[in-house]
């Protein structure tokens, strides 16, 4: 079984204008192995997988399946060869049910009529066998991201795919969901399915993969056995220089409270209860306060309530001494900047140029307009300055359409914009989601630098590593309430996990209560 290659991609070269995305890359995938593909954003991982999935045609190189050369012109060819892919951004139809999404494109029909009962039985069997819990009749728009991903996985299984590609599957998952996914992947591998696992999270790669191929700047740096390597050497291979995996920061010097929240309630869109239920806390100048918790425990709504995107139904929010509980979003923006959770929904107008996006809140300021006419020169100059200072890379500089930029650089643009507004409070929601080591290192250092300038940073994160290394103080949210306040220096990941799962909580005096 050892040397049996299911898929071989030999000397693949794929060029885009001005850039060689894949330069003579060879990748061999053995039967029953989990093969990780590691690289920074822009290293060519997704391009390589898109070539395998038939989305791009390579200029040079051949693809072999079981030793036979094959041509993959489009995803249908790939499916026919048993190749399935879970994309980073899910390809699901939001208004369809889970079942409809799974069978879409591979429907069983009888005389043109759908035979959903058979399909349902098959999906249910698969779901049970691999422990992939999904609600087949729920609409995709109503289910969590974790479940959406399980739907994507079931889609591949439903098509009896043997080669499974996972493109950054853990970027959107909670720690528990990640563990489940890892277990499922190992289960697949045991059954002889072969998995290509694209990631830049070293922990996961170390935990789950058998071999790792590292890409850097479109070139293959090498393939190593996971058991013969470690995190540090992998990250050095990936980035090409020694990387700092831990955040270095001086002890916080907390000052006066910048943000005071008292009894804040925000109603839920999904159920009748409050998504944020009588939450009180304060964020002080010069500290990074982290709201930790499993996705969907009210963190999003808390941020919406603070920033004004959603109306609160009770309680007060005081920012810099001013009651902003009912203030407009723009007014709140006077003292607050906000790095939003969803950069495509809230963070950017994707069809606008980078420079237009960089002044999204500031276009009305004196320096950028005269009598209602936009001062384009000033906007461009300012954009150029931010691009330079924050190293936002794009094809055409300030006039690049935001949509065409890579995720990491879109995020950098948002961070540049928000940090540069120099507001006393920065609300950063999952600022490093889906980014590579280099970009994370950079964003973390930016947030620490802002803290050291005396700003209050309210960080909402789902990633335990980030919570532990970056924050000065941790608040844990569970079912819309704050169940604990922890000091990252004195707590452990395990303890934090217990609070996040609701197994532990503190009373008002900070004393531990019995399990809720």
């Amino acid at each position: 079984m050892t040397a049996e290659n299911v898929i071989e991609m030999l000397h693949i070269t794929k060029e885009f204008p001005g850039i060689i995305a894949n330069d003579d890359i060879t990748l061999q995938l053995r039967r029953g192995e989990i093969h990780a593909l590691l690289g920074e954003n822009g290293a060519g991982k997704s391009t390589l997988m898109s070539v395998l999935f038939g989305l791009y045609q390579p200029e040079k190189g051949v693809i072999k399946k079981n030793g036979q050369e094959v041509k993959i012109h489009d995803p249908n060819d790939a499916t026919a060869l048993g190749i399935g892919m879970v994309h980073q951004h899910f390809k699901l139809i939001e208004v369809f049910t889970v079942l409809d999404n799974i069978i879409l494109g591979a429907e069983t029909t009888k005389m043109g009529f759908l035979q959903k009962r058979e399909a349902r039985a098959k999906v249910e069997a698969l779901s049970q066998r691999y422990g992939l819990k999904v609600d087949l009749d729920a609409r995709v728009e109503d289910i969590t991201v974790g479940m959406q991903q399980r739907v994507e996985i079931l889609k591949m299984l439903y098509r009896d795919n043997e080669i499974l590609i996972f493109d950054e599957p853990t970027a959107v998952l909670t720690p528990q969901e990640i563990d489940e996914l890892m277990a499922t992947m190992k289960e697949f591998a045991k059954e002889g399915k072969s998995i290509l696992f694209i990631s830049h999270k070293l922990n996961e790669i170390m935990a789950v993969s058998d071999r790792v191929t590292v890409l850097r700047k479109g070139k293959c740096v090498g393939t190593v056995d996971t058991k013969d390597t470690d995190k540090q050497s992998l990250s050095n291979m990936m980035v090409g220089r020694p990387v700092q995996l831990e955040v270095t920061k001086a002890p916080a010097q907390p000052g006066a409270p910048v943000l005071e929240v008292r009894d804040l309630c925000v109603p839920s869109k999904i159920h009748k209860k409050n998504a944020v239920n009588h939450v009180s806390f304060e964020a002080r100048a010069g500290e990074i306060l982290c709201i930790a918790g499993i996705d969907g425990n009210g963190q999003t709504e808390l941020v919406y309530g603070l920033t004004g995107l959603e109306k609160s139904s009770g309680g007060t929010v005081t920012l810099c001494g001013e009651d902003i509980s009912h203030a407009s979003i723009r007014h709140r923006g006077n003292n607050m900047s906000h790095i939003p959770e969803d950069r495509h929904k809230h963070g950017l107008v994707l069809d606008f140029s980078l420079e237009q996006n960089l002044v999204l809140q500031r276009f009305n300021e004196k320096q950028f307009q005269t009598h209602g006419f936009i001062n384009r020169g000033a906007v461009r100059e300012y954009a150029g300055q931010l691009i330079e200072q924050y190293d936002v890379r794009s094809g055409q500089g300030p006039v690049t359409t935001a949509r065409s930029m890579s995720g990491g650089n879109q995020q950098k643009a948002i961070i540049a914009r928000e940090v540069d507004r120099e507001k006393p409070l920065i609300v950063a929601v999952q600022p490093t989601r889906g980014l590579d080591v280099g970009a994370i290192e950079y964003i973390h250092s930016q947030l620490v630098a802002e803290r050291d300038k005396g700003r209050a940073v309210l960080l909402v994160s789902l990633e335990l590593d980030e919570v532990m290394s970056l924050s000065d103080r941790i608040l844990v949210m569970y079912e819309g309430e704050i169940v604990g306040e922890l000091d990252p220096k004195q707590t452990t990941v395990q303890e934090l996990g217990l609070y996040m799962a609701g197994a532990k909580r503190m009373d008002e005096n900070g004393k531990e209560e019995k399990g809720a």
Partner: protein, 430 residues
Amino acid sequence: MKNQGKTLLQRDGTKTVLASLLSIVIGLVVGSLLVLLVGLFSDNLGLSSAWEGIRLIFFGILSTGRSAVGNLTWGFNPQSIGNMLFRATPLILTGLSVSVAFKTGLFNIGAPGQYLMGTMTTLAIALGIPSSALPGPVIWLLAFLGGMLAGGLWGCIPGLVKAFLNINEVLACIMTNWIAANLVTWFFDATKVFQNTVENTKSSYVYKTAYGRTLVDGTWTYVDGNGVQTAKLGLDKLFPGSQVNAGILIAILIAVGVYILMTKTTLGYQLKACGANRHAARYAGINDKRNIVLSMAIAGALAGAGAALYYLSGNTEFYWHTYQTLPATGFNGIPVALLAANNPIGVIFTGCFMSMLNIVGLQLTNLTAYNEYITDVIISVIVYLSAFSLLIKMLLSARKKDKPEQAAADTPAEDGPAGEASAEKGGEQA
């Protein structure tokens, strides 16, 4: 900068123009086929009439009638061109109306209703103020502004409903259209004074604005020539025999104004931000509700302005039994905007094109045994195709991608930046 390294053919704008031209050509070809079929299967037409019809469809604007021996003659026809410009005036404005709303992410199918409200208000002001009370130009201006205001207010309704109750603007627009249609009929029916009784051969028409409200022997009557008309500014000399007036110049000025509004001002920036991503606009503190209402108000005002310019010409009559039909000018704003890809400057040209088809239809009726409805078919084909213009654009791009050296220039927009610098630093493809 934006199109650095791209040849003219590969620019996005060029593709848009090409897609629109292609829609137009296909529309004309389909019209020609229809003319051919009708010609072949009709007793009093034949292949030669069909050939004449086809030539008229493509070049009807340059037709000068028939020679003594009965052949079609061609040349510069000032009357046709003047009338084309005159009829283009309201189309340009309803086209602008649709495109402004579209940029804010709204589909203004309510232009006919806004147009009607504009018509009613303009006529009521122009015919209601006694010609002795104010100088003509002042009455004209009041009537014009009144028409805009009425259209704008009418446009606000779907905007408000959309912004505050989240009811689809298309539904609200359709309803307000018919409300306007009935309201206008009721108004002219109930007020009676504006009904044209001088030319008693006509029924259900309102006075032309050339008629002025005048006190004759102690009773108010309407006297021809005492009313208001849009100035000709010598355009009638340039295009003798046509209805053209300064309205077209005003329409062009407004189009340029809209272009400036949408591309150069903070208001346009906000409107477009709301249209492109309402969530992000809200996040940035832009008042999305206000902008939705504002956008619909501007759209309505533009449609109202179209109506005002059309009826203030002095020689156009308004048939006030509108409760059964909505003005085509309002709906035709949609293809005008679509063909122009919502570009305000483009709207000037597509508006002229649509009115040209109108003239072509008249030429067909006048010079051949065909009737003008052929041009309606052409318009409808073009409407279909312009709705597909995005598809056509994609096809244009796809065709180029087959050629490897050109593929190079197309992909970066979708797949990531391509500059040398970013390639050096690691690129952004993944």
